[in-house]
Symmetry: C5
């Protein structure tokens, strides 16, 4: 039985973690999910590390929704740097699912984007653990999560 961690925030304006858990359940079996909610994205790195080291997760999905101001961009950068460090300290993947508020033109698109990106990256996390050959088959295919795929130019 594998464990998939889902770390998310009270700062996000959409229940991204809930969508990730729902999509994982639709995608396959053989795992249980562990949920961990923190205030903001800068709290996600240690939450991911604790999910891996204290709650036995094999992979973690870390979801957040940084704001549109410069200070929010800086926070997101610090959080991302921490999420990479966690992976190098644990040799486990942590899939970052960040949706920046200014990626969308209004709240409706933002909610749509957050759900779709959360769902698509949940499948990526599943694939890293259960079917890595599916990722290798898509190497260089220009895949995107949320908005449409860019596609191959080869």
């Amino acid at each position: 039985m594998k464990h998939i961690g889902v770390a998310d925030t009270t700062f996000a304006r959409v229940d991204m973690g809930g969508f990730a858990v729902d999509e994982l359940r639709k995608t396959g079996t053989g795992f249980k999910t562990e949920r961990y909610t923190v205030p903001g994205v800068k709290d996600l790195p240690v939450a991911a590390k604790k999910l891996i080291e204290e709650r036995g997760c094999d992979v973690v999905i870390a979801l957040g929704m940084p704001g549109s101001k410069q200070i929010d961009k800086t926070c997101a950068h610090e959080a991302s740097t921490g999420l990479i460090q966690v992976q190098l300290q644990t040799n486990a993947h942590v899939i970052e699912v960040f949706v920046h508020e200014d990626e969308a033109k209004d709240d409706k698109e933002l909610a749509w984007l957050a759900e779709r990106r959360a769902r698509e990256h949940a499948v990526n996390a599943y694939d890293l653990v259960f079917r890595p050959e599916r990722l290798e088959a898509n190497a260089g295919k220009g895949l995107r999560q949320g908005f449409d795929d860019a596609g191959s130019i080869q």
Copy 2:
């Protein structure tokens, strides 16, 4: 008995650490607080680490008030990066409570903002240790500390 560390600075123009300690006392029992004051935000990471490793804290609230110039923004970024590293080295949460001088329109609002953010994040620190289910119940609710909540768009 849990220990909650409160690290703050002589640089800040408001006794943010004092407000955090006061709010913790109003919020619950079962813990004692450890105070550690340093000159500026770049001294907070090692103070937080020492609170955890040398004084047995289970969680730390790190409070600071970076100035409004570019150099201050850079200092805050360096401090934030260090605070994340501390968490990954100790597997303990360090809640960063930074109020940037240019977030407020005047000194009065700045003082108000610093107090309110310190108090609201003190509750977050308490929740991480004593009632994590309260955070999970608020996942994706668009919560903010200081200014008004953004709210859910789901």
Copy 3:
């Protein structure tokens, strides 16, 4: 028998990992390649570390194609920082092969650039393991991968 890791992404719009593997085969013998495909460049650091520590690679080629927006530049910077950390944690070289979408004037040039840079850096990875004297002989020669060499000005 040496092991050369090839880590790449489904985000890239060209099968850069495939070109690297092909070029390695044309360059020499005495090694086998290990392929590892992840969603995006920020997933490359832990993939490189796992290739080295779990699959015995002596060197890794990490290939990606960051987009042209500011957020993509930030992602690439975070990934690069992580790739350097991996090297310092393992004492093994990880050759970063990133092609930024805005380096090329159109998709055709982008595809050409991605292939050529992947191939030329594959040879660098081979040289680091099998013939370091070839690199030393080219010290200060203004070599480039992808576009033309800048050349020596001595």
Copy 4:
């Protein structure tokens, strides 16, 4: 007997380390100072670490004077990041005393600023080791080193 390290550079245009040592002697007793001079600010992190680990320092004052160009700002940022890492690796404080050339309107003010900031931070380093209660009493007081204090707004 405590040890206080003083790390400085040949790049600075003022003998900041000399002022720090002088101020420490005026401030108290019960310690000896260890001096370590390096070329530039990017050499300070390892100098600070060696002062702590190889020469037994309990705290280090790291002094430098970055130039006014963008590249100098970047160097200072890298050095600051390193100084924070040193502290997290050793659990010892390293007080950074940087004076940026463009903080002052001319050389005369720059020399004055460098001396005053070096002296005031030397006292902070002393306080961290010998009288931390003095720092706690000044929490939130808006203290500055070099230019005038900003003061409390509470």
Copy 5:
């Protein structure tokens, strides 16, 4: 017998490593040099670490010539950050000798600058190992490597 490492790149347009080795030989005896050439500046951190840990170097001179575009500035920043990490992991100095292409007005000045900075920093590396008192005597003297010294303003 001490060992001095010289790490350089095939990307640089001047044989900076060659100048460093030549200057070391003119400066003193009691050491041997170890050369290590890599493709670009981002490969220098692990090269420096391997020189220290696998080839017994007491100090390393890491030389590179970043380009003038923003992406080159970012690469240099990542490399510099890595070089500082190497020092903190090994407690050995790594003297960074970077010459940015846009520091010089033309290729002729660039070649002159690269040689002079390489030579002057080679002496700094020698001094850190063999005569640190020479650096201490120059604390705060406003020394520069390459262009003219700024001088003291005290």
